[in-house]
């Protein structure tokens, strides 16, 4: 058997794995606090005001805010893109390269948009 071409899958798999960890560890807590407890008025931390969040965003030149955005938005986007790409392969829809470009391209675009919005504030 001849030597096969090296796959570029490790890149996407690494992003998928990192995204999966962020998804599982960070998002349930965030959804609980920001999506349920806060709107119901069960918690009202002082930093969840415009001034508080704005101050957090500008802490240490905005680097922590960018890291949080990467962990909470960008990596989970790549995680979801990877699942959709392989889901399409399982359903035998979409050509491998086309669905790859579409899924990871969209994840990259939305990631850059999220980071740009954080920088713009």
């Amino acid at each position: 058997m001849k030597t096969p071409k090296r796959s570029d899958e490790p890149i996407w798999w690494a992003l998928f794995s990192a995204g999966g960890v962020c998804f599982a560890v960070l998002l349930p807590a965030l959804m609980l606090v920001l999506g349920i407890l806060w709107p119901l008025g069960l918690v009202s931390p002082p930093w969840l005001s415009y001034a508080g969040v704005s101050a957090l965003l500008h802490t240490a030149y905005g680097v922590p805010a960018l890291l949080v955005t990467a962990a909470v938005i960008c990596l989970p986007l790549f995680h979801a893109a990877h699942r959709i790409h392989h889901g399409l392969h399982d359903l035998q829809c979409g050509y491998r390269q086309a669905s790859k470009l579409l899924c990871y391209g969209l994840a990259l675009l939305l990631s850059l948009l999220a980071l740009a919005l954080v920088l713009a504030i």
Binding site: M1, P4, K5, R6, S7, E9, P10, W13, H89
Partner: protein, 238 residues
């Protein structure tokens, strides 16, 4: 004795255009395995029924068939666990040679592609000693009986017959993890491709059907980690 209804997929490529289902009734008790039933059918009712078998004790791995759509070893599956008509068909994802006999050639080619033997350049006659801890690293993956059930269960192998598949990747891990072996570099080139470890999407059905519980899905995921490490190391090798 209980009467069991069997519906067996029959196909003789020299005579039939398409496979057909044939119904049989066999009598058995709580110890009757699917293989026992098939052999009694062949000996007492229909000598034209073709099946592959050898040891009757889940060691040879040759009596794999689909029982109600799930890959099973005929000798390790018992009629008592089924109700109603039991469907028996050849292993999925392989070409049928006749009735329940499939062509295992692609499977064997994938196994041999990963060089499933100890590769060691050292030319010494001394025995290669191994500690219990070194043995434990690969022992679980060394129990494969090459029955091919994991290939019949794997949807990725069904979609892409070029995918190396669970058993071959498990066997690659078995030798890569062996302290007496230093052939990992030559095996990684097979695992690194799209048809190597990366052809797997972690469905996990291989581990569910494995009659030896050696968890091929875990081996494939370990191979992915190894391949990812190999990818990064390769970036710095120019």
């Amino acid at each position: 004795m209980t009467e069991y209804q069997l519906r067996i997929q029959r196909y003789d490529p020299e005579q039939d255009d398409t496979p057909r289902l044939q119904r049989y009734t066999v009598s058995g008790d709580h110890t009757t395995s699917v293989l026992d039933a098939l052999l009694s059918l062949q000996q007492q009712q229909d000598p034209t029924l073709a099946l592959r078998w050898s040891c009757r004790m889940a060691i040879c791995g040759s009596c794999g068939v689909m029982v109600n759509g799930i890959p099973k070893l005929g000798c390790k599956t018992f009629l008592r666990d089924y109700n109603g008509v039991i469907d028996i068909a050849p292993l999925a994802h392989f070409a049928v040679e006749k009735d329940l006999i499939v062509d295992m050639t692609p499977f064997l080619a994938h196994l041999s592609a990963i060089q499933p033997y100890l590769i060691n350049d050292k030319d010494d006659k001394a025995p290669h000693k191994q500690t219990p801890a070194q043995l434990a690293k690969y022992q679980q993956f060394s129990n494969c009986i090459n029955c091919g059930l994991c290939y019949a269960a794997c949807p990725q192998f069904g979609l892409n017959p070029e995918f190396l598949g669970p058993a071959a990747i498990t066997l690659a891990q078995r030798y890569n993890l062996d302290s007496r072996d230093n052939g990992k570099a030559s095996r990684m080139s097979q695992l690194n491709g799209n048809n190597g470890a990366w052809g797997c999407t972690f469905v996990g059905s291989c581990s569910e059907v494995c009659p030896k519980q050696l968890d091929p899905a875990a081996a494939v995921n370990q191979a992915k980690v190894e391949s990812a490490k190999d990818f990064i190391i390769n970036l710095f090798k120019i």
